[in-house]
Assembly symmetry: C2
Homo-oligomer: 195 residues x 2
Amino acid sequence: MGRPKCFDESKVLDSAIECFWRNGLKASSIRTLAEEMGIAGPSLYNAYGNKQTLFAKALVRYADTTLRPRFLRVRDLPPLEAIRFFLFEQIEITLNDPDGKGCLFVNTTVETANGEQELSNEAIGYLNEIKDFFASNLRAAQSNGNLSPDVSVVEMSETLFVMIVGVCVYARMRPSRSELEAALAPAFKLLTAQS
Amino acid sequence: MGRPKCFDESKVLDSAIECFWRNGLKASSIRTLAEEMGIAGPSLYNAYGNKQTLFAKALVRYADTTLRPRFLRVRDLPPLEAIRFFLFEQIEITLNDPDGKGCLFVNTTVETANGEQELSNEAIGYLNEIKDFFASNLRAAQSNGNLSPDVSVVEMSETLFVMIVGVCVYARMRPSRSELEAALAPAFKLLTAQS
DNA sequence: GCAATATTTTAACGGTCGATACAAAAAACC
DNA sequence: GGTTTTTTGTATCGACCGTTAAAATATTGC
C-alpha cells in the first residue's frame, strides 16, 4: 500500500554508519548525512525517525555487520586461538582503515558519555560483549587445559579489553604496522606463556 | 594602559578545560563555555581568540597542570617504580573522576581525528609524550639492571600505552575499582616478573 | 582634568542546525 | 478509474551556532 520506498533501507543505513563512524555524532549534520546516504532530509526522517534514532539504528546495524561476524568467524576455533585471531584481525582491520575510523562503539562511548546517555549506554553494552568474549574464551581455555588455572580470567579479560580499546583509539592516530604489532605482542605472549 | 582585565586568565581557562574535558569540543558552545568560565562572550574572544584557539590553549594548559606534574612526581623514582606509580595513579584519578571525564588528550584525539586536524595533532603529540615516558623509563631500567635486556622496550612501551589509553576510555564508562585494578594487574606483573 | 588605550556590556549579525508543513507523485485496493 | 496510503521534493520553520560592531566603562600617562 502506498508509494514504495525507492531506496534500500539497510544500504542507506550503511552510508549513515560510515558518516557517523568517520566524523562522530555531532559532526555529522542531517544535511551531510542525507547527502552521503543519497536521500533527501524528509525521507531520512520518514525512514529512521530523527537523528538520535538514526544513530541508534546505526549502532545496532554496525554491531550486526561488523562485530557479530567477527565473533562468528572465530566461533569454531579453540578458545585461545579465537582470541588470538580476534586480536590479529584487529591489527589488519586498523591498517586497512585509511580514514582512521577506529571503532564506532569506542568513538561513541567517548563522545556521548556526558551527553546522550542512551546512546552511550548502547555503545557500552556492545563493548561489554567484547569483554565477555574474552572472558568466556579464557574460561573455556582453562577447561580445555590450554590455559593454566592460575591465570585470573577476570584480570586477563580486563587487560585484553583495555588493550583492544586502546588500539581502537590508536587507530584514530594512523598508527604503523610495527606500532600495532608491538602493542599487542605482549598480549600474544601472555596467551601462550601460561598455557 | 587601558581598562584592566577583571578575571584571572589562567583560572578562567581552567573552567574552559573542565567544560571541554567533560563535554568535548563540539558539545561545548561558546555560550555555555562563557557561562561556565564566568565571563561574557566578547571577553572570551578578546582573551583567547576564537573557539579553536581557546581549545588549543586549553590543551596546552591541561598538559601543564595535569600531565607534566605527573611526570615530575615520579621523576626521582627508580624507573620501574616511576611507571608503576604512574599506572597506579591512573586508577586513583579515574576513581576520583565522578564525571567520567577521562583524559582530554584521548577524548580530543577521538573526537577531532577526522575534523580539526591541528587540534588532533596537538593532542596526539602529548599522548606520544606518555609513550616516550614509558620507553625512556624502561630503557633506564634495563641500564640499571632492574629490567631484563630480553624485554623489548618498544613492545612493552606500546603495550603500556594502549593499556593506559584504554583505561582513559574505560573512565568514560564509570568503571569500578575492581575492573580497573584487574585491567592493570597484568601490567604490574609484566614489570616485575622479567626484572 | 583630558586624551589614549584596553576591557566590558549589550545587541545583533549571517549561517547552520534539527526538524516539518505541504503538496506532488506513485503504488495498492475496490 | 477513483480512492486511499505512503513516499517524495520543495520550501521553510524557529533555535542555536560562532562571531562581531558599537557604545559604555575603567584604567594609565600627561
